[in-house]
């Protein structure tokens, strides 16, 4: 038989048109939006807090003029209160509490960093310098949220819901026969449903990443952001995160599409896959390759520093992977997705409509 690609493309699009609405606007899918957009709230809150703190430090700097970073650096643990006050001048803010052992906290600011000195019984107890937010710091936190929360929980469980329900949901709704009674190859139905799921999750999680990125940069001065976008790696980072999100949707989506066809209870395969992905870093090298996260880690634009302070479970999740080139990583995820889709298509050919058994 001659492959009729033109017809199959039209039919795939017809299936996608039917499925896109379901994937985007399912009432039961509300929590996908909650998962996807939760980090935006975190970054929005963070930016708001940083901006508030920045304004506060500006006010403090006005109250204690002449305080500079050099003067702050001159303060050492051995100094007396008088000596400190002589260098920094009167504090912009101070608090006192306690009767038997009175504690006094003094604060200065140069408008950016905050310098805090704590006295107990008139003796210097502690000094600390709180810096303002930096791109490096926020970028690292962004990468950590992306890897630990976004990829492993939000996208993972979002894909569980969307892709697992493409066939399974219609079995439960008793409406799958609508497709199976049309002159359309089952493989085309699989392709159309997968395309719709990928489009929906790609848009939801991609838009969320873009908004998170905007949220992260909201508190930086305009000229700094402009410089980051014009001379730094902002666009490259943003596109990488969106690309990794879409690849994750393709990889996990294909796995859950197969799960929805083969299995009745979606939570068991999802749990097993989550475990598999979580222990990927400690698996033998050959087994690591059969994982979506293995390739996605390579593609993440910002690496998470693994110092001794990182707790054990997180260190395991962020465990460095063997070096794989970007093209290999992209082909790896798509290859894995393709293999899974072939399995789904093959299995769909022998699928039966047996609603009573559901």
């Amino acid at each position: 038989m001659n492959p009729n690609w033109n017809l199959w493309m039209r039919q795939t699009w017809a299936v996608m048109r039917l499925e896109i609405g379901k994937s985007f606007f399912s009432k039961r899918g509300l929590w996908i939006y909650l998962l996807a957009f939760a980090p935006i709230v975190i970054w929005g809150g963070h930016s708001y807090e940083v901006m508030e703190r920045g304004e506060d430090r500006q006010k403090m700097a006005q109250r204690s003029p002449g305080v500079t970073r050099q003067k702050m650096a001159m303060i050492t643990d051995e100094m007396s209160k008088e000596r400190i006050l002589a260098i920094l001048g009167p504090p912009a803010r101070q608090q006192s509490f306690g009767r038997r052992h009175p504690v006094q906290i003094m604060r200065w600011s140069d408008g950016k960093a905050e310098f805090i000195v704590r006295f107990r019984d008139g003796e210097l107890e502690n000094i600390s310098l709180r810096e303002g937010c930096s791109f490096e710091e926020d970028s690292t936190v962004f990468a950590a949220i992306f890897q630990f929360f976004y990829l492993r929980l939000a996208i993972f469980w979002g894909c569980v819901f969307v892709f697992m329900n493409l066939f399974r949901g219609e079995m439960l709704d008793k409406s799958l026969h609508y497709y199976f009674l049309a002159p359309i190859r089952r493989e085309v139905v699989v392709a159309g449903k997968f395309g719709a799921g990928l489009l929906a999750t790609g848009v939801i999680f991609g838009v969320s990443i873009a908004l998170q990125f905007a949220g992260m940069n909201l508190h930086f001065p305009k000229e700094t952001v402009d410089q980051y976008f014009s001379q730094g790696h902002a666009i490259q980072h943003l596109l990488s995160y969106i690309g990794v999100s879409i690849l994750a949707c393709a990889g996990y989506g294909s796995a859950f599409l197969v799960g929805g066809i083969l299995l009745r209870n979606p939570l068991i395969p999802a749990g097993v896959l989550l475990l598999w992905e979580s222990i990927n870093g400690i698996l033998p090298a050959i087994l690591r390759k059969f994982s979506v996260i293995y390739y996605l880690k390579v593609l993440s634009p910002v690496a998470i520093p693994l110092d001794k302070g990182v707790p054990g479970p997180l260190a395991m999740l962020a465990f460095g992977t063997d070096p794989v080139s970007t093209p290999v990583a992209i082909i790896g995820v798509f290859g894995l997705a393709l293999v899974l889709l072939v399995v789904a298509a093959w299995r769909s050919r022998s699928m039966e409509i047996s609603y009573a058994a559901e």
């Binding site: 017809l7 039209r10 039919q11 017809a14 299936v15 048109r17 039917l18 609405g21 379901k22 709704d173 008793k174 409406s175 026969h177 609508y178 497709y179 199976f180 009674l181 049309a182 002159p183 359309i184 190859r185 089952r186 050919r349 022998s350 039966e352 409509i353 047996s354 609603y355 058994a357």
Partner: protein, 312 residues
């Protein structure tokens, strides 16, 4: 053979539960009714015929095509299933139109065909309303419109008359008759035996997963030897006629009708009986009508399937 529906020794088991067993059928064009009690295997047979389930043993071809090749198969076959569920939020029009788009045809063509099918089942006014608000009868009709929309050569209908009011039921039966002309297949299942009688060219009687009998109902009736044929004869001199009939060994019972205007006769050979009636009619007994009374689906069903009455 390429214009028949062929079941070649087909069995279907759901685990250890029997669906249908050793079904061997060749269904010619025309209207064929599947008749049997609940659980007899009618829907299983239809689902097998359309590839929604697959046989455990045997094979099925519909006009030379296998249900395993849906891309070509469903350009010839339309199935109005018993499943009463629809893609969420669809209007009647969307239900038919979106189905047609799955054929890979253009918007304009799908639109025209959808409206033509909707018009055929008389649902134009309700077409833009959501199916969720439809009555049972309207849902049946929109499913029928969907099955008819691609102008198939084979139409399979599972209980298509359920929920229809008498007027729509009559219109739908006329639609079936119109469809079944020009060598097309119409396969339907029904519990309403007198309608099956009116509609069908042939019947397939099923019980407990087996095909009990198949063919034209009169031919099936003639093969039931355990139950002699009953024939009602209207005449002026029933006693005289009765004495004539008793002279023949194929006549096993003769009763004078309760109104005294005829006889109810049981015979082991309908053919010989009708020849005899020709002779008698040529003689001096005035015979008004001769009509069989138990060669309908209801009687045949009762003789073959016995106490397992279909739901009415």
């Amino acid at each position: 053979m390429d214009n028949e529906i062929i079941f070649d020794n087909v069995s279907k088991f759901y685990g250890e539960v029997l669906g249908v067993n050793r079904v061997a059928l060749s269904i010619p064009p025309g209207i064929t009714s599947l008749v049997g009690p609940n659980g007899s295997g009618k829907t299983t047979l239809m689902n097998l015929m359309t590839g929604l389930i697959q046989p455990t043993r045997g094979s099925i071809t519909v006009r030379g095509m296998s249900p395993k090749d849906p891309e070509n198969f469903f350009r010839t076959v339309g199935y109005c299933s018993q499943f009463d569920s629809y893609p969420k939020g669809f209007t009647g029009y969307q239900f038919v139109y979106s189905f047609l788009r799955l054929f890979g045809i253009t918007h304009a063509e799908a639109n025209d065909k959808a409206w033509a099918a909707i018009q055929r089942v008389g649902l134009e006014e309700a077409a833009k309303r959501k199916i969720a608000g439809y009555s049972k009868g309207m849902r049946q009709r929109i499913k029928l419109a969907q099955a008819l929309s691609s102008d198939p050569q084979v139409l399979v209908l599972d209980e298509p008359l359920n929920g229809l009011d008498p007027l729509v039921r009559a219109e739908t039966i006329a639609l079936f008759r119109e469809f079944a002309t020009a060598g097309r297949h119409l396969i339907l299942s029904s519990h309403v035996l007198h309608e099956v009688d009116i509609i069908s060219d042939q019947v397939i009687l099923m019980a407990a997963g087996y095909v009990v009998a198949e063919g034209q109902i009169r031919a099936v009736r003639e093969e039931i030897e355990d139950h002699p044929m009953q024939i009602l004869i209207r005449c002026q001199q029933p006693q005289r006629l009765a004495s004539r009939l008793f002279e023949h060994d194929h006549v096993v019972e003769v009763k004078v009708h309760s109104d005294g205007g005829g006889l109810l006769v049981k015979t082991k050979s309908a053919d010989r009986f009708y020849l005899l009636m020709n002779e008698i009619a040529a003689g001096n007994i005035d015979i008004e009508t001769v009509a069989p009374v138990d060669d309908d689906v209801n009687s045949v069903y009762g003789y073959l399937i016995g106490s397992e009455e279909p739901t009415r």
